[in-house]
């Protein structure tokens, strides 16, 4: 069986390593750039892949001289509240669409699916007008209220799938025993759908955290910015790029989603592929 070892090397380990290097290199690069001194950053003669005098100076600048902490707090607040709003709406809607029989159910499910595919770049301009009309320009509310439009459609579809997978009989026997439908829903169906709800929550949180164009267009003061927008718009002064701090900000801004995701990879992948596989 010794012949199979090089074969496996060729069909598995080699291409897989190559893919890993290509996909992960930019992250390594971000990290290493963020701890290089400015002198080392612009040194064209040295070896760029290593850092010889590591420094935390760029991180100090990021925290002490930019609004990074404020942006982090804003991003967290927006993501948590938008996710909570979306979950409540999606659980209710997903349950209704999966379980109740009523006129127009198919049409409404179809309409929600269509909104799932509406890209942000199609709507950001008129949405800016709507945000202005509502007097929400340059507030956290402008994002808290609009992000659910990105989150509700897929959460609802994801949860519809979960609700459908729970046997109807469980609920019906509770109804026959005299429980009201609302009670059957909250005490029997919801606990069983918890994995799906967690999946939707993780997905919704990361999507809110990563959102860019609405946050870019709806805000203009430093205090209201989110991490992606703050880092991209405020760490470049004219033509001067603060590369070290840019990388530090980019890296720290990515850590929360990467962490959440690494704890719940299966949930995340489950949510990601639920539509594709079950569809």
């Amino acid at each position: 069986m010794t012949a199979t070892v090089p074969r496996r090397l060729l069909t598995l380990y080699l291409p897989l390593s190559l893919a890993a290097i290509v996909l992960l290199f930019p992250f390594y690069w971000m990290f290493i750039t963020s701890i290089k001194t400015d002198r080392e950053l612009i040194d064209l003669n040295g070896l760029p892949f290593w850092v010889f005098e590591p420094t935390l100076e760029h991180y100090r600048v990021l925290f002490a001289e930019t609004g990074f902490l404020r942006w982090a707090l804003n991003t967290l607040t927006i993501s948590v509240v938008a996710t909570a709003i979306s979950l409540v709406c999606s659980i209710l809607a997903g349950y209704a669409l999966a379980r109740l029989r009523f006129r127009g159910a198919a049409a409404i499910a179809g309409a929600i699916f269509v909104t799932y595919l509406v890209p942000q770049t199609l709507l950001f301009l008129p949405l800016l007008e709507v945000v202005r009309q509502l007097g929400l320009s340059n507030t956290l509310w402008s994002m808290i209220l609009t992000y659910p439009t990105i989150l509700i459609p897929f959460s609802t579809w994801l949860l519809m799938g979960y609700f459908r997978s729970i046997p109807r009989e469980l609920e019906e026997s509770a109804l026959i025993d005299g429980a009201s439908r609302v009670r059957a829903m909250t005490q029997i169906v919801l606990p069983l759908a918890l994995p799906g709800i967690l999946s939707a929550a993780i997905f919704a949180f990361t999507l809110s955290w990563n959102e860019f164009i609405y946050a870019l267009v709806f805000t203009n003061s430093t205090d209201i910015k989110t991490i992606p927008v703050g880092v991209v718009t405020e760490l470049v002064k004219g033509d001067v790029y603060f590369w070290g701090s840019l990388m530090a900000g980019a890296l720290l801004g990515s850590v929360p989603v990467a962490l959440i995701y690494s704890f719940f990879v299966d949930k995340y992948v489950g949510g990601l592929t639920a539509g594709a596989v079950k569809g």
Binding site: L122, P148, V265
Partner: protein, 310 residues
């Protein structure tokens, strides 16, 4: 035993209690749907109508009362060289990246479908480009493509391939190549993970039976695996097409549409025209040009999903 049996008819003169009303499925369903539908109507439905209205007026940041101008914004766009260039860019960008993402994604999925140690770790690590904020990972690419300090150029010059590095983001074709590379990097994991999920549903016994009948691995892959995962591939393709056509972040961070508009996409051009130049109506019209492609993809998906769920 159906649950509807609990829906007692309400006799005249006897008001139903709240509990009884809620137990009627039609009433309860609409109550449950209300919050979500309200948000979608307010922030997708209403803006969409606003968008249609904006696009047929001459609204800009300086006009106080907008005038109806018919389809002028749409026809005006078609006469603009920048817009036509942008449409070309968008098609090139979408076409090229989707093909590569599909190819690499399929390859990576097949690799990952084998069993090996640390498979879960590998799967987690490989999805990273797709899950971190694109605007932030784009900053890493901005530095990787820097005219002077690009590490790619360092490698090119050091290895003696060329005397001078490439001006990645500063020359039209290279700038397009750069954003395409960054997009493929970000999107491939999504294809790979979705297709991998599809591969895992393929019945091993089917493949084994074919092997017993003398089918080569190649034949098994093309004749059995591919037809079985076709639904997943199709859905991922359509999703990715919609997302790529409407892309914004990578271009905004890497090139702002430059040099000389050679990397503008519909989204970034709409942003420039409306937000930077203040021509709201023209920007709205440019955005709306995405709509036909979107409709085609949505209809294709709906038809396909309906057919496959029957």
């Amino acid at each position: 035993m159906r649950a509807e049996t609990r829906e007692r008819p309400v006799t005249a003169g006897q008001l139903p209690t709240i509990g009884e009303v809620l137990d009627r499925q039609g009433v309860l369903a609409y109550i449950l749907l209300l919050p979500g539908l309200l948000i979608l109507a307010a922030f997708i439905g209403w803006p969409f109508i606003t968008s249609l209205w904006l696009s047929v007026t001459d609204q800009s940041v300086s006009t106080s009362v907008a005038r109806f101008v018919g389809l002028e914004n749409f026809t005006g766009a078609l006469k603009s060289q920048i817009f036509l260039q942008t449409v070309r860019n968008t098609f090139v960008y979408t076409g090229v990246t989707v093909v590569f993402k599909l190819g690499f994604g399929l390859g990576l999925a097949v690799l990952m479908n084998q069993s090996f140690r640390l498979k879960n770790l590998a799967r987690a690590a490989l999805l990273l480009p797709w899950i971190v904020p694109t605007a932030l990972s784009a900053i890493a690419w901005l530095w990787l493509f820097d005219a002077t300090f690009s590490v790619f150029n360092w490698a090119i010059v050091r290895s003696g391939i060329a005397d001078r590095g490439i001006n990645w983001l500063g020359e039209g074709v290279w700038a397009m190549t750069s954003i395409i590379i960054a997009n493929i990097w970000r999107g491939t994991p999504f294809f790979a993970i979705s297709i991998l999920a599809g591969l895992q549903t393929v019945d091993r016994e089917l493949l084994d039976a074919a092997a017993v009948d003398g089918a080569s691995p190649w034949q098994r892959f093309w004749r059995i695996t591919i037809p079985l995962i076709r639904p997943v591939v199709l859905i991922v393709l359509l999703f990715s097409t919609v997302q790529t056509i409407s892309d914004f972040q990578l271009v905004y961070v890497l090139t702002r549409g430059g040099p000389a508009n050679s990397t503008h996409l519909l989204g970034t051009l709409a942003y420039d025209v409306a937000v930077r130049a203040g021509q709201l109506s023209q920007g709205a019209a440019i955005s709306l040009y995405m709509f036909p492609v979107l409709i085609v993809c949505v209809v294709a998906l709906l038809v396909y999903m309906r057919r496959s769920s029957v």
